[in-house]
Amino acid sequence: MATPASVGSSSSLKNLAEIRAMIKRHKMNDTLFSIIGLLALMLGLVTLLVLFTDLILDGSDRFNLEFLSSFPSRRAAHAGLLSAWVGSFLVMMVTFIAAVPMGVAAGLYLEEYAPKNWFSDLIEINVTNLAGVPSIIYGLLALGLFVYGLGFGQSILTAGLTLGLLILPIVIVSTRESIRAIPVAIREAAYAVGATKWQVVYDHVLKYSYGGILTGVIIGMARALGETAPIITIGALTFISFLPPSPVTSEPPYLNFEWLSSGFTVMPIQMFNWLSRPDHAFHVNAAATGAIIIVVTLLMNGTAIYLRYKIRKNIKW
């Protein structure tokens, strides 16, 4: 004779077992997802490792000083990177001079000066949008504006300015972010002792956000170093067996600006050129170049990430 109570307890026991099974199942889901999530994260790491190992193995024959000190050649084994790395270096100099002061100034304006109105909104929307414009579009802009519009030709100046525009949003955004991290109290303290706005901005805001800005600049420069598409679009030459005139001369005035209008090639373009040839011997050169580019950009990005980490740890306010 089953009392209602015993029926109830047996069904609640059954319920309990069901609930336990459900909890177990859901906990399993948790573990399962943790594993899938870790795998998803590992994909990036594994790709990076495989990519790097592949380049090193493929290019191992060409890791010597001769590769860095020879010009491109029709014979793969004698071809080198000299004109490409010198070109990259000179282009990066122009990029730095073009993008950094401009980007920092723009960041300062937007963060410290800009009034809240449609005009500031317009600038902000533009900065955000520019960060999303495909890099090859910058190449088309440069082709129309710098190469033909302003008559700079296919020169180091054109390439440097193009990459400068390309990394401008990166510099602006990182400047703004590091400025925003500075407490208002710092500014108020400076105002309280009679500093003008520019004195506050220059002596305090800029000084304290220096590290953060530097981080953004390094990341931007690393991006510029590896950028290929916009430089190809402006029509950079791929077979350059001369060096641009030296920026520094032994006679007064010691500085020489002819190099700005010189033809050039850069490392990513040299790599693209080599890997699009049918002859396999050139692919070895491409792999070696790729390995060099990747080491330099990883070092730059690594420095930036480390710097940011240090800054975050050492913040005093």
Binding site: K27, F33, I36, G44, P101, L140, W198, P268, G290, T297
Partner: protein
């Protein structure tokens, strides 16, 4: 008496000197502000310059080529004797490679974001995020090499018929390349969901996974969509991977096992050659660029609309 006048005279010169200094200071401040504003305006100027250049050169292009041909012709051979100007093959190539990339990047990026935001310990996050950032820093031409000489040969072992230039390999590589962009933006959005919502969910007895999928993800959906849009823009505008590994023959197909040129690959191909300024070939790359910009803009507007529809505020 004399002393007093001298004193007041002195005060007044001090005051006027101060006044002068103030005025100088004010002028200096104004000039500096103006210079900084000019720098900020460079962003607006760049946008205008991009639009102006693309439009003027494309106008030249559309004087020779009818717009109808441009969208309806199924061949793109501007540099041949028998020139055809149908953008469709290039758009098909761009969409196919982008679609493959997104099929890889969206699921993996979302899973990675959920894991980083809801499951990972502080330490894991501190280690993994910098590595993902390093992946973002790898130049795309290097990924192109990887797609052409590593991934494609690997795929050929599975699909023996796969040609050396195909859309599958670069599409997959592009997908892996885009994962960090999607995961970092999506993760930021998920971390911005208030803790109290998770706590509410846990209090009801939900597990981590249930909380992540049913509470955090819906709450962060507008940010996650923004991450997808960013991924789409990257995929559509990506140049070197496809230019290197997908081939440069315009081919009206959506079959990833075939080789085809994308819009970006075409621009690269033309720019590598020596086209005279003002020729139809030269103008055609600006028309192609215009299509590219319109496509990314279209995706961005679509994303904006989706975000607006699903946005949740707390």
């Amino acid at each position: 008496m004399d002393k007093k006048t001298a004193n007041s005279q002195q005060t007044s010169t001090v005051v006027s000197a101060r006044l002068a200094r103030n005025i100088r200071r004010n002028i200096k401040e104004r000039v500096i502000e103006f210079i900084l504003m000019l720098a900020a305006l460079s962003a607006v100027a760049t946008t205008f310059a991009i639009v102006a250049i693309l439009l003027t050169e494309s106008l030249g292009f559309f004087k020779t080529v009818s717009f109808i041909d441009f969208i309806t012709d199924t061949q793109w051979t501007p540099l041949f004797e028998d020139a055809h100007y149908g953008i469709a093959p290039l758009v098909a190539g761009t969409l196919t490679t982008s679609l493959i990339a997104l099929l890889v990047a969206i699921p993996i990026g979302t899973i990675a974001a959920i894991y980083l935001s809801e499951f990972a310990t502080h330490k894991t996050r501190e280690i993994v995020k910098p590595i993902l950032e390093l992946l973002v820093g790898v130049p795309t031409v290097v990924f192109g090499y990887f797609a052409l000489f590593f991934v494609t040969p690997l795929l050929q072992k599975v699909f023996p018929d796969l040609p050396g230039f195909n859309m599958l390999g670069p599409g997959l590589v592009m997908g892996v390349m885009i994962v960090p962009y999607i995961s970092s933006v999506a993760e930021d959005a998920m971390r911005a969901v208030p803790m109290s919502m998770r706590e509410g969910s846990y209090a009801m007895g939900a597990t981590r996974f249930q909380t992540a999928i049913r509470v955090v993800t819906p709450a962060a959906i507008s940010g996650i969509v923004a991450a997808y849009i960013l991924g789409i823009s990257r995929a559509v505008g990506e140049t070197m991977v496809v230019a290197v590994a997908a081939g440069q023959q315009p081919n009206l197909t959506f079959n990833p096992m075939e080789s085809a040129a994308t819009i970006t690959a075409y621009i690269v191909q033309v720019a590598m050659g020596d086209l005279p300024h003002g020729s139809i070939g030269y103008q055609s790359i600006f028309a192609a660029g215009l299509v590219l910009i319109v496509m990314t803009l279209g995706f961005n507007i679509l994303g904006h609309m989706v975000r607006k529809k699903f946005r949740e505020t707390y």
